[in-house]
Each structure stands twice: as structure tokens, then as C-alpha cells.
């Protein structure tokens, strides 16, 4: 048996490096039609009239009347239409689409559509949505979700507190900027709809099309094409594109391509939810003994996945800390903004930023060192989580902290105030991430994984999870090959095609390695027993949560996740005293993500995740003004470049999860969630002020420091 963690050459690397990988926009066919969406140019309005240009033959318009089944994208509440009906609820909402053979002409025709609107007073902010003074967008009070849970006796804790600390935090939008913009190709042949495209969740797309067409499931086929990044942006949104492409294919009988321009992708696809998080802490004997966390998410025009994003945020509300008296409130507010959606971390980055920054502030107030203060509150094995779940595995935060403090020379550097004429600061964060779907998600999904041993003794992995750069083409092959004791090259893992693979669930929630990989591990064990040379053997298994997991979805009580990964980050910054530009110089990370299935791939996840988190905390500014985003191109929406990346130093602590393959836990999202609070703590250290909001812009620091001076 080899060491599963030892890096191997990635299976998807050669074609991506040589440029031979084919992404959806690389496929062409004779007689293919191109589609362009005509979008609302109002944030909120009633559609009064639509005037179409004269269409040459071969060109057609597709709109809400061309949806054979229900004009609703299947998600949780199913309130989001493929095409607007009478009312548009955000700038850029699809109203109709034009399909035709010549892109130039399609472009021209789509620009010639004239739409008359009657404006309805729009709602943009959490506050406007909360006040509910304008006609509500959703239900009677604009709330897509309104939740609450409690543990212990929070009221008692506040009553008996020595001191109560109350703070309010804000986080901004974040756009994914995957390298490959979204897109789909659709065909209608022999009574079947087939869709090819860039996606994370083939069965989400398939289920959305079943509902949209009202077809039985054997008349819908979805195939993933090589996907150039997702980060959650290709979790729910591809269903929107697949639907429109498929309606065009159905109406014309032609192969149809709908690929977004980068500008459309930046402005009109889902983004991370902005949040307002209020934390009230009851302090007794210098410790936080009670806490109330009130989370409000700006959820955009349609519910989408917001209710689950809110749940993850709420379950992460107390971070990595054991606080015995807890009250967590959560609301997801409807606004006239593009629907906000899945993004690496899924609610946790907002919650972790708030709780970490709160803990830093309380530590400072108590005159304590934040690292020691946090360690004093940390979870231990046998503790119950905020939702009352049991921590069954060792929580190795002390070891993680010790390593990172030593590696970063934290206390030495903490004394430093200046470096090369810049203001110097260092910050620490400690956090956890729940692995797999939130709450009862995995129970509902009941994922199936299958291995097919062929007559030629090669083994096919048959699952619906995708490679999007995060590495499963390599890691899952390694798992199966290692269990079976065969070379990795004898394991085949194609991009999933719903005609061939069972539904092993979506490629989200850091679940692929731990949940699906764990399932594959057990399938492979069984296949090994049934192995017959030269014969075909198929083994399939359905996922079951471990028996000991207890969860009540109606009260949010119990084990919100089957297992947790843990981590600590240290960030060093230099702030220019004249311009307040922030330079993130060094980033340190120590994670316990169980057994790494490939150390190089994990290293990649750490660098990428942390850099995305650093961008979230600093450069990635997206402002909403007068119904539109101000930053709507990649010239203006700024993500870090290689030049902005710090030097990374990383290490791992391994506490294996017995149901994960070879002990693997979750990794993909964990690497992002701790960066922003560490950056914030470092900037606070450099400037000697408290901050409550990300992104931390030099513009904002200037205003704060001017106040400080006066």
C-alpha cells in the first residue's frame, strides 16, 4: 500500500496545461444556433409591453410561453422563474431570448427589442427589506427564511453577566470569477432533451429540466463538460442557463449554444450574500458565557439556496468556541438584486468573520491576548456544539495553535509596530467547518455511488460529482485504486453523464472527498471481495449517515454535520501610512482536514482558498447603487493577482474521520473561512483600531483614521 497522501501527477493537468481540454464554448456543430438573453433594464417593474424587431427566417424568440412545463427553476422554494412573467425583480432578469445562426445578427436583434416598464418602488438593502414599507417582494414581509435556535439559558447568562458587549458586523458581496464563464449547449433529438455544459451538479440541472419540461426523467440527459472553476457559482445557477438553452432547442429542433459573456457573468449570476451580523456577548469572569447572534442576509430577488446558506451561517455562529448559553436568530431578506447564492463557505465566511472579530475585540477589552483568550473558549472532544451536537473526535486546536504560533513567530512579531516605513500588523484566527451537507441534507440526498469493473479489468467510477479544478479526478481515482490494489491508470472517471451515472449528489459543501469518497471507499472494498478476473462486476451503495448522528431539522437540534475540520490562520500585513493600502505579506495556515488525499492538491486548495478569503477581506469591492452593481467588469471587480498573493507557509495536523476515505475530512471551504478575520485582526493590529466590516478598503481606513486623529 502506498501512502495515499503522497502527491501524484494530476489526471486533468496535461490537457489543461496543453490547452487541449474542451470547455463548453469549444464545441461547434454545423447549423448550431446561438442564443442571447434579453434582460430587464429595471430593478423592479411591471412589464407593460414588449416590442420585437422583425425576425428574419431562421431566428426565433423564446420566452415564458415556450416553457413546456413549469416556468420555475427547481430549487428549494421554486419561486425563481426561467423567464420573467409580468414583473421583473432585478436588473438583468431574463425576459426572453433570441436564437439564430449568426451571432452578429442575434446580437443586433436582441438589442432591438423594446420593452416598456412601469416601475415599482425597489428594495435594495437589508434595512429597506426589514422596514417593509414598500410593496413586499416575497410573502408579506420579504422573508425567505426566518429561523431561530437556542441552547442553555441565554437570558440567564445575560442577567448574571459582569458585562455585556454588543457589536455589529457587515460583510460584502463576492463574485466568483471562475476562469470559464457559464454556458450550456442543448439539443432536442428523438424526443429527448440533452444538455452539455459547465456545472457542479448534473442532477440539479436534470431535476430542474424535468420540472421545466414536465418530461419523465428518461427524456432528460445532462452531461458535464470540462469545467473551468465553480466555487459554488455553478451550483444552482447553471439550471437557469440550461433551461433557456433547452427551451430554444425544443422550439427550434436545432443544437443551441448559450454561453455567457464575461460581463453578463459578472453582473447577472449569483454572488455571495452580504450580511449584517449583530453579536451580543454575556461576559462573566472574563469569559464569554452567553451569546446572542442575529444574522441577516441580503438574499436578492429569489429564494434560491438562501435558506440553507442562512442555516450554515447560523450553525457556524459561535465559531470554534464552546459557549453554553446560545441564542441564534437568522433571516434571509428579499431585495431587488440578482439572487445571491452558493459561494465557497456558504454562509460560514460571514459568520466566522463576525465571531472571530468579536472574540478579538472582547479579548482586547479584557486585556487578554486573543490567542490565549480563544484557546480558553475552544471546543474540546465531548463538548456539545451550539446546536447541541456531540463532538466525538479529538479537537486538536491546541496543537494547531501551537504549530502556527511557532511557525509564524507570532509573539515575536506581535511586538513589531513598523517595518520599512509601513505600519506592521499580525492577526490570528481559529475556526471550524462542518463537513458535508448542512442538517438533514445528506439524509435527503441519499447519494448513490457505483463502481463498474469491466471485463478488461479496468474500473469505472460512476458518480455525478465533477472535477472543476479541486482535484477529484485524481483523489477519487487514488482512493479506488488504493483500496483495490490496482494502478490508478486502470481507474476510469469520465465527466459525468446522467444517462450513465447514479445521483451521488452535488459537488458542493466540501462533500465530494469525505462523503462520496467515503462511499466509494466502501464500494471498492466490496468490489475487491467480489472481484472476478475477466468478468464484469458492478457494485453500488447508497449513503447512510452514521447511526449515531441525531438531527432534528424542525428545531435545529443535534449534529448539524457528521464531522468537522479545524484550522488556524495567521496573517501579516503592512499598511502604508500615507495611502492606507494594505499589503498582505505572509499567510500561515495549519489545518486538520483529516488525512490529505494528496498533499499537493491540498496545498493548492489552501493557497487558492486563502487567497480568495484575502480578496474577500480586502480588494473585492462590489457596490450596489441605483439598482445596479458599480463594478460589473473584470476591469473594475478586483480579485487578487499573483502579484497580490502573500507568501504561504502551511502545515497539517491529522485527526482522521473513520467514515471518510482513509480518514479524509472536508477541505475545500475550510481554507477560505479563516482568512478574512485574520486579515482584519492584522489590520487592526497595524492601525490600533477596531474594524467591523469587510472588505477593508483604504478609502474606509482613511475616514476611520481621520476620525481617530481628530
Amino acid at each position: 500500500m502506498g501512502d495515499i497522501s503522497k502527491p501524484v501527477r494530476r489526471f486533468d493537468a496535461p490537457e489543461k496545461i496543453m490547452g487541449t481540454a474542451r470547455y463548453v464554448d469549444d464545441y461547434f456543430e454545423e447549423e448550431m444556433l446561438f442564443v442571447r438573453i434579453v434582460r430587464s433594464t429595471r430593478p423592479r417593474a411591471r412589464i407593460k409591453s414588449i416590442k420585437l424587431p422583425k425576425l428574419p427566417s431562421g431566428y426565433c424568440v423564446v420566452d415564458k410561453n415556450d416553457v413546456p412545463g413549469e416556468n420555475r427553476i427547481k430549487m428549494i422554494f421554486d419561486d425563481w422563474p426561467f423567464f420573467a412573467e409580468d414583473v421583473v425583480n432585478f436588473y438583468g432578469e431574463p425576459i426572453l431570448a433570441i436564437a439564430g445562426p449568426d451571432r452578429e445578427k442575434v446580437y443586433e436583434l436582441s438589442n432591438a427589442v423594446k420593452i416598456e416598464y412601469e416601475d415599482i418602488p425597489p428594495i435594495y438593502t437589508i434595512e429597506e427589506s426589514e422596514e417593509n414599507k414598500r410593496p413586499p417582494i416575497f410573502g408579506e414581509n420579504n422573508l425567505f427564511a426566518d429561523y431561530f435556535y437556542e441552547k442553555g439559558d441565554p437570558d440567564g447568562a445575560f442577567r448574571d453577566a459582569d458585562q455585556i458587549v454588543e457589536e455589529e458586523f457587515r460583510t460584502g458581496f463576492q463574485e466568483h470569477i471562475y476562469l470559464e464563464p457559464q454556458g450550456m449547449i442543448a439539443k432536442y433529438e428523438d424526443g429527448r432533451i440533452t444538455v452539455f455544459g459547465s456545472m457542479q451538479c448534473p442532477y440539479y440541472v436534470k431535476n430542474a429540466l424535468i420540472k421545466a419540461f414536465g418530461f419523465p426523467e428518461d427524456r432528460i440527459r445532462v452531461v458535464q463538460t470540462t469545467t473551468g472553476g465553480g466555487f459554488g457559482g455553478k451550483e444552482e445557477y447553471p439550471s437557469q442557463i440550461a433551461g433557456i438553452a433547452a427551451f430554444c432547442a425544443y422550439k427550434t429542433g436545432k443544437t443551441v449554444k448559450l454561453v455567457y459573456d464575461r460581463a453578463e457573468d459578472v453582473e447577472f449570476t449569483t454572488k455571495r450574500h452580504p450580511s449584517r451580523i449583530r453579536i451580543k456577548g454575556a461576559i462573566k469572569d472574563k469569559r464569554v458565557v452567553g451569546i446572542e447572534v442575529d444574522i441577516a442576509l441580503n438574499a436578492g430577488a429569489y429564494a434560491g439556496l438562501s435558506s440553507v446558506v442562512l442555516q450554515r451561517a447560523m450553525f457556524a455562529a459561535t465559531g470554534a468556541y464552546r459557549i453554553d448559553n446560545v441564542r441564534v436568530l437568522g433571516k434571509a431578506f428579499a431585495t431587488n438584486i440578482v439572487p445571491l447564492g452558493a459561494f465557497r463557505g456558504f454562509g460560514a465566511p460571514q459568520a466566522i468573520f463576525a465571531i472571530e472579530t468579536f472574540m478579538n475585540h472582547v479579548a482586547k477589552k479584557m486585556g487578554e491576548d486573543p490567542v490565549r483568550f480563544k484557546l480558553a473558549h475552544r471546543y474540546k472532544k465531548g463538548d456539545t456544539t451550539a446546536t447541541g451536537g456531540l463532538l466525538r473526535s479529538e479537537v486538536r486546536l491546541p496543537e494547531i495553535t501551537e504549530k502556527i504560533i511557532e511557525m509564524s513567530e507570532y509573539y515575536e512579531k506581535k511586538k513589531q509596530k513598523e517595518k520599512d516605513g509601513k505600519l506592521y500588523g499580525i492577526g490570528f484566527s481559529m475556526f471550524l467547518h462542518g463537513c458535508g451537507f448542512t442538517g438533514n441534507g445528506e439524509e435527503v440526498l441519499k447519494s448513490i455511488a457505483r463502481l463498474k469493473k469491466r471485463k478488461d479489468d479496468k474500473v469505472e467510477i460512476l458518480i455525478s460529482n465533477v472535477e472543476m479544478g479541486q482535484g477529484p479526478q485524481t483523489t477519487l481515482r487514488k482512493v479506488v485504486a488504493q483500496v483495490l490494489g490496482i494502478p490508478m491508470e486502470d481507474v476510469i472517471y469520465e465527466n459525468p453523464d446522467t444517462d450513465k451515472v447514479p445521483d451521488s449528489g452535488p459537488t458542493v459543501a466540501s462533500r465530494t472527498a469525505m462523503i462520496v469518497g467515503g462511499l466509494l471507499y466502501r464500494v471498492a472494498k466490496e468490489l475487491k471481495e467480489k472481484w472476478k478476473e475477466g468478468e464484469e462486476v458492478v457494485v453500488e451503495k447508497q449513503y447512510r449517515h452514521p447511526e449515531y448522528i441525531k438531527w432534528d431539522q424542525s428545531t435545529f437540534k443535534g449534529d448539524a454535520y457528521p464531522e468537522y475540520s479545524w484550522g488556524a490562520n495567521v496573517i501579516e500585513v503592512e499598511v502604508d501610512p500615507l495611502t492606507y493600502e494594505i499589503e498582505v505579506k505572509k499567510a500561515y495556515a495549519v489545518f486538520d482536514l483529516g488525512t490529505p488525499l494528496d498533499k499537493k492538491i491540498i496545498e493548492g486548495q489552501i493557497h487558492g482558498g486563502m487567497l480568495q478569503g484575502i480578496g474577500y477581506a480586502t480588494l473585492e469591492v462590489m457596490e450596489f447603487e441605483n439598482g445596479r452593481f458599480k463594478q460589473r467588469t473584470i476591469t473594475d471587480y478586483i480579485i487578487p493577482t499573483a502579484m497580490d498573493a502573500p507568501l504561504f507557509e502551511t502545515d497539517l495536523v491529522v485527526e482522521p474521520y473513520k467514515n471518510g476515505p482513509f480518514g479524509a475530512k472536508c477541505a475545500g471551504e475550510l481554507t477560505l473561512v479563516g482568512a478574512a478575520p485574520a486579515v482584519c485582526a492584522a489590520v487592526e493590529d497595524a492601525l490600533g483600531i477596531n474594524l467591523y466590516e469587510i472588505p477593508i478598503r483604504p478609502e474606509k481606513l482613511l475616514v476611520l483614521m481621520n476620525k481617530e486623529d481628530n
Binding site: E104, Y260, T579, D636, L702
Partner: protein
């Protein structure tokens, strides 16, 4: 897409004398400005005239006491040329990223005349002149007379920018600062280029230009005159405050998707103050 690819400068000027074209050097501004939808060629307002390859439009030389840079010289060549003063090289080295600097030209940056054009503040403080050619005429203007507004300048439709020229200053102090949205491929929130020279405690030269803080780059010679010929010991706090306040009247930035007016103005003036303080004896 249609366009004209002239073989020589004369052919290009001949073509321009006959009808309106849009000259394209590196295309790094134009391709972005006129882009439409994915996989479609950009739509230019008039027929493109490709000039980037014309040999007569490229090169850097020293003529008498002047440095002459031809308009279609690549940004990356200027960045690397030892003939070019460091203030301009520094500015160029912080523009875009190597790929764009290998396509983009100095002429493109000048004629684009964006308030955020990064070669402009250094060219303003170098008192650079631009030479424009048409079929029958050659004109030479100071760069600050050439640029008249955001994206606006004195170029006539029948003219090409031929070269930019300036004397190499003999200065003792220099500052270049670009405050961008990030470290590479970033447009300026603001930028400052400054030169000064002090000999025996006397300030005999002082020039400062600001980018992205007003409709055109800002250089105010009347204020520079007040600093010039002072003795460094006269740079009192009061005097520096007075100079900073006077520049404050000229720096009129806007709020946009990159930054705020308040930030641009405050930081521009802070950098000015920092430069004045550099001239003071320690």
C-alpha cells in the same frame, strides 16, 4: 472585420488625408472600449488603421539634449531603455502587466488621454512635447496643451501622433507613486509624479503632476514657482500647509467604481506633503 494596414508612415498619412480612420497601435485600449458580446469582433466607430507595425513609428533615441520616443514604441521597450528617465520607467513598470506592456504603446496612452493614463503625470513633469504629423503639416505642442479633457485632445482626424520628446532633467529628488486597485493589471485611483532639485539648500527646480484627480492630469506651474528658488530652510509647516492648500483647489476628483473623491484628494495631498518634506534637511 475590415481595416487598412499601411506599409509606411507616408501611406498612413495619405490614407488619413482622404477619410476618417481610427488609428490602432497596440489596441489595448480600443479592443476593450469597443468590445461587444463574446466571440464578436469589436465595433469601431470608423475604419481601423493599423499603425503598430510601422517601423518609422517605433524607437527611442537621444537627439542633442532631448530624448525622442516614437509614438508606437512599446511600453515594455521604454520600461527597459536606459535612455529614458527613471520617473517614466517607474510609471510604466507599474502599468497593466507584462503581456499588455508588450502590446500597448506610449502613443496609445497619450492619445487615449484618460485622466488615469499613467504615462501622463511623468510626461507632464518632464515638460514633454508631442509631435503630430499630417500629410502636409507637422505640429509640436506641450503635452499639457495637447490634452484638453477626459479622452479629449487636440489631435485632428488627419493626424497621427508621431513622437514625444523631452529634455532629461537634472534633479536631486524624485517621487513616483501609483495608488492602484491592486498590484498588477490595475487602473490608477490616483498617481503622483514629482521632481525637484536643490543645490546648496536652494530649490532650483520643483515640478509635480497628479493623475486621476481631475478631468486631465494636474500640473500647476504658478504654485511650483512659489516653491522654486526658496531655501530649504523656508519649508516651514505653515509654508507647506499653504502649498498643500493651494493644490487642493486644483485637485477635483470624483467618486467612481474604483475609489472616492475624498480618498483621491486626501491621498494626493498627503503624497505632495511627503515630497515637500523630503526636500527639508533632516
Amino acid at each position: 472585420m475590415e481595416g487598412l494596414i499601411p506599409e509606411s508612415l507616408d501611406e498612413a498619412l495619405e490614407a488619413l488625408s482622404e477619410r476618417k480612420f481610427i488609428p490602432i497601435a497596440g489596441g489595448t485600449d480600443l479592443m476593450v472600449r469597443y468590445k461587444r458580446w463574446k466571440n464578436l469582433p469589436p465595433s469601431f466607430p470608423s475604419l481601423p488603421l493599423f499603425i503598430g507595425h510601422i517601423a518609422e513609428l517605433s524607437g527611442i533615441e537621444k537627439k542633442d539634449d532631448e530624448i525622442v520616443i516614437k509614438a508606437a514604441t512599446l511600453l515594455s521597450e521604454i520600461e527597459q531603455s536606459p535612455l529614458v528617465p527613471s520617473i517614466l520607467r517607474k510609471a510604466i513598470s507599474q502599468m497593466a502587466a507584462p503581456g499588455i506592456r508588450n502590446m500597448g504603446t506610449i502613443g496609445g496612452n497619450i492619445v487615449n488621454s484618460s485622466p488615469a493614463g499613467d504615462t501622463l503625470p511623468p510626461l507632464y513633469v518632464l515638460d514633454a512635447k508631442v509631435v503630430l504629423l499630417s500629410k502636409n503639416e507637422r505640429r509640436c505642442l506641450f503635452i499639457y496643451d495637447f490634452i484638453t479633457g477626459p479622452g479629449k485632445n487636440q489631435r485632428r482626424d488627419d493626424e497621427l501622433l508621431y513622437e514625444v520628446r523631452f529634455k532629461v532633467p537634472k534633479h536631486t529628488h524624485e517621487m513616483y507613486r501609483k495608488v492602484g486597485t491592486r498590484k498588477a493589471n490595475a487602473l490608477s485611483k490616483l498617481s503622483v509624479a514629482a521632481l525637484a532639485s536643490s543645490r546648496d539648500g536652494k530649490i532650483d527646480d520643483f515640478r509635480i503632476g497628479f493623475g486621476a484627480v481631475a478631468p486631465t492630469p494636474v500640473r500647476v506651474k504658478s504654485i511650483e514657482e512659489k516653491v522654486k528658488s526658496r531655501h530649504v530652510s523656508e519649508l516651514s509647516d505653515d509654508f507647506i500647509n499653504e502649498i498643500v492648500n493651494e493644490y487642493g483647489e486644483w485637485i477635483k476628483p470624483i467618486d467612481d467604481q474604483r475609489s472616492t473623491a475624498l480618498y483621491r484628494k486626501t491621498v494626493a495631498l498627503r503624497l505632495l506633503r511627503a515630497f515637500l518634506l523630503q526636500l527639508k534637511p533632516v
